[in-house]
Amino acid sequence: MSLLHVDDVVVQFGGVTAVNHANFEVDEGTVTGLIGPNGAGKTTCFNVITGLQTPTSGRVSLDGRDITRMPVHRRSRKGIGRTFQRLEAFGSLTVADNVRVALDIHDGFGGLFRSVDNDIDEMLELVGIADYANERADSIPTGTARLLELARSLATDPRLLLLDEPSSGLDESETEAFGELLRHLAGEGRTVLMVEHDMDLVMNVCDVIHVLDFGTIIAQGTPAEIRANPVVQKAYLGYEDAPEPVGAHARTDVGDSGSDSGPDSDDDTKVLAL
């Protein structure tokens, strides 16, 4: 039974299409990879699923229920958690307080009568950053901050976790431990959807992989199937080695940072109209 259903989603920024009729499903209890070249629209897909970006058209459903128009915070209450490619830790708070805020938000008024200190320790232990508990979050290394975002998201007890390039900034042994953590989370019955560039990690950990290119799903299957898929090889190698054409570079910024910084304006369009 699929938990998440992305149905024919299109996202356009001005005249550029970042996500172009993307279709995919994520099954409950799996670790699913979402891979693709830079600018393929992966982060934009995440923004659409979490509600930070309204799709131009298409549907997103969770458990068969349409959530396309649901506000961000309500989706979180329905069990969608995420981490960010560009860090969104609460920099002025300590690592422990980052998790504490998440627990406070999640508990609502019920949390007033409950000490959360044990929960915080537990979360930080789980992702392996307990040593940093009293550091300010803007002073810790990038990899650690990514783990902090994961711990913070876990504090809201999500069913579906969206991880945006979680392993960047981690060294080899940390990445290995992180892979085990992902399997552990899946073992607990959580569903993980992950954008990731570390192919070893993706191939070792994921049950299913979706490949996104130019905003469209071009392949899906098990790691072995994806590895053998000639279309995927072409899409990937075409970008990894060869210098990118100018147009493709522009796409990169629209799809990735564009979708990241796109909504950071105070209005929803940044195009100066004539």
Binding site: L52, S76, F90, H106, D266, D267
Partner: protein, 669 residues
């Protein structure tokens, strides 16, 4: 019908002038993402410059226009962009608002300094005065025709510039992504400077065209920014055609209101309505704007001022109250009034600490809320605790009502809504018969609480000091608790808070209401202090000064608020003592705010660092030179919750956060 046509002509003229100003605002905002609140003030100053050149110095009109529009205004624009506001586009909205409000205050300071109010009346004659044009019974002045024609030329010129030239293409590209533009060889800096040069020149042009009609005055022309952004908002600050539509619609609406209001019974009570049309127009647009997406990729942690523990704050609070009681017993009444005013302003500053310092939102209407509190307190006429509580609660409700329309929008719009609200209160409510009417002071009775009467000046000031301490304790308690953590989290990343399940819209309304409530208390106490109080105490310009001073002294700490409150009281005193330098004082404060506005902790932050600096830098030197002195370098403790308030730890904390990992910080780990 003739009347209708006449009103239409006037409306088109006003709309054309608004359109010129608004397109300048759109150009500067969309290329650099710095919203220039001072846009109208810049227009005002250049209208004065133009008057000075063409009337006082007697230069030919064409030469004055060339000097102002093609030389001085563009240079000023480049100066503002390059020197005063570089890099603000990526800073939190609050910071760029504070800095541009500072520019606004500075501009008014410059104008009042160079062209003081008391000298002979100044006026700019209309272009080709006297040559009236008769169009089927409607009289049209050349000024009107010229303005409408110029606005069409500006529209055409901007279209050609943006659509047909390389630099125009670069301008549109820099709207999308300045970093990307520079990657592709576009010089984002040149583009931004050019946009500001043109934008400022357009502000000056609008000011010069409007000055003959609305008069050469400091404040009326400054408020042109409200009309301009109301128009620009229809185009979401990015679309020039929609901006023109908005400007024309606004100009016509205003003209019809002026024209037809006198036919409506009871119009004499709505004398301030025409001036409020832009603000009302703006509110309507804000309500209709679609939901803003949450910001991603914002600035991260902000260096925080130390937050004392409740225990420590209590000690300081008691000391402050005792100090005031002792001092108050021996003071003359006039001095007591000043002390009381400083306390009231400090409480008002605390409302900003909560809203701006902790929450990251900017209010440009603090004094309007204080005024609501004062009116409520006077009208309810319950000189006891109930009266004060009602003033707080009702002002808080008003605050919520202001915030609700902009619930779905981001900080910039909230700030603009407060500016519009401040102007509405100024023009419509405070002057109405429900409030102060036209400078008709209200009488407030000083309260008696639990049988204690606070009628005497000294006693009342003691009461105010107690109130200040209570409010400060509440603010500190909020900051240290769950709510405070959530506020900081929301300031650091709204997107993350959203994905963690926080409904920030109502949180924001609550924050705004709380802040307004504190402002209401301040106003009520001020009314009691002055016994009779009039609307002039609460003019909107004071809110801008308050924000300036908050930026200078720091808006993240109670200490900053108290010092800032005293400063706010002292500024007008100093200005009336040295009237020749009154304008200059505004300029000095404004320059301070521009410099310090980027760090919300203000001067207080540096004060907190002094003891640490003395121990770190001075003690070792002294100890070297005079070995006999028993000077110890400071001892470091693990920065736990309870120790947070100790200065050494805070200073270490601060140094550490600003990235200077000094050896003592390493030692403290």
């Amino acid at each position: 019908m003739t009347a209708f046509l006449s009103y239409t002509v006037i409306g088109l003229f006003t709309g054309a002038a608004y359109a010129i100003a608004a397109s300048g605002l759109v150009l500067t905002y969309s290329t650099t993402r710095v919203f220039n609140i001072a846009h109208g003030a810049v227009g005002m100053v250049f209208a004065f410059v133009y008057w000075d050149l063409s009337q006082r110095q007697g230069l030919p009109v064409w030469l004055s226009l060339v000097l102002v529009l093609l030389v001085m205004a563009p240079l000023t624009g480049v100066f503002i962009q390059r020197v005063l506001t570089p890099g603000l586009g990526t800073a939190p909205v609050g910071v760029s608002l504070v800095v541009t409000v500072a520019i606004l205050v500075g501009m008014i300071g410059i104008a009042t300094q160079i062209w003081p109010e008391n000298s002979a009346a100044r006026s700019i004659p209309q272009f080709f005065q006297g040559d009236l044009i008769h169009l089927g019974g409607v009289i049209v002045t050349p000024q009107q025709v010229i303005t409408i024609v110029i606005s069409a030329i500006v529209a055409g010129g901007l279209y050609v510039l943006l659509a047909r030239t390389r630099v125009g293409t670069a301008m549109r590209a820099s709207v999308d992504n300045a970093e990307l533009l520079s990657l592709y060889g576009g010089r984002a800096n040149v583009v931004a400077a050019l946009a500001w040069a043109i934008g400022t020149s357009l502000a000056a042009l609008a000011g010069i065209l409007l000055a003959p009609i609305i008069g050469l005055q400091y404040y009326d022309l400054t408020l042109l920014v409200i009309s301009a952004y109301a128009a620009a908002m229809l185009g979401k600050l990015t679309s020039l055609p929609m901006t023109y539509v908005g400007a024309m619609g606004l100009g016509l609406a205003q003209s019809y209101v002026v024209g037809y209001l006198q036919d409506i019974p009871g119009h004499d009570k709505l004398g301030g309505l025409p001036a409020c049309v832009p603000a009302l127009f703006l509110f309507a647009i804000l309500v209709l704007l679609p939901q803003a997406p949450l910001r991603i990729g914002q600035v991260k942690g902000i260096i925080s001022a130390p937050v004392p523990t409740i225990k420590r704050s209590l000690v300081f609070g008691v000391l402050l109250v005792v100090g005031v009681i002792v001092m108050a017993s021996g003071m003359a009444d006039s001095t007591l009034t000043n002390v009381g005013t400083a306390i009231a302003y400090s409480i008002l500053m605390l409302s900003l600490v909560l809203l701006t310092g902790y929450g990251g939102f900017v209010s440009l209407a603090s004094f309007a809320f204080a005024g609501v509190g004062a009116v409520v307190y006077c009208k309810v006429d319950q000189p006891n605790l109930l009266g004060l509580i009602l003033a707080i609660v009702i002002t808080a409700i008003v605050g919520a009502i202001v915030a609700i329309p902009v619930l779905r929008l981001t900080g910039l719009y909230l700030a603009l809504a407060t500016l519009a609200f401040g102007q509405l209160m100024d023009q419509l409510f405070f002057t109405s018969q429900w409030a102060f009417q036209f400078d008709n002071p209200l009488t407030a009775h000083r309260p008696s609480i639990f049988g204690f009467s606070f009628g005497r000046e000294g006693r009342y000031v003691d009461l105010m000091a107690v109130m200040l301490v209570l409010v400060a304790l509440v603010v500190i308690a909020i900051r240290r608790g769950r709510l405070g953590r959530m506020l900081i989290a929301m300031r650091d990343s709204q997107a993350a808070c959203g994905t963690l399940g926080l409904d920030q819209r109502w949180f924001r309304v609550g924050l705004f209401a709380g802040s307004a409530g504190i402002a209401g208390l301040s106003g009520a106490l001020l009314a009691g202090l002055r016994v009779t109080i009039s609307s002039s105490t609460f003019i909107y310009f004071n809110s801008l000064i308050l924000l300036m001073i908050a930026a200078v002294w720091g808006v993240t700490s109670i200490t900053g608020a108290v010092i800032g409150g005293a400063f706010m009281m002292y500024l007008p005193v100093a200005q009336s003592n040295y009237p020749t330098y009154a304008g200059l004082m505004f300029v000095v404060v404004a320059v301070g705010a521009v410099i310090l506005g980027r760090n919300p902790n203000g001067l207080t932050y540096w004060m907190f660092r002094v003891p640490g600096w003395i121990q770190d830098s001075l003690y070792p030197v002294l100890a070297d030179r005079y070995p006999g002195l028993a000077l110890k370098a400071r001892a470091f403790e693990v920065s736990g919750e309870e120790d947070e308030a100790l200065v050494p730890v805070d200073a270490a904390d601060a140094g550490h956060n600003s990235g200077e990992v000094t050896s003592d910080v390493v030692a403290s780990r």
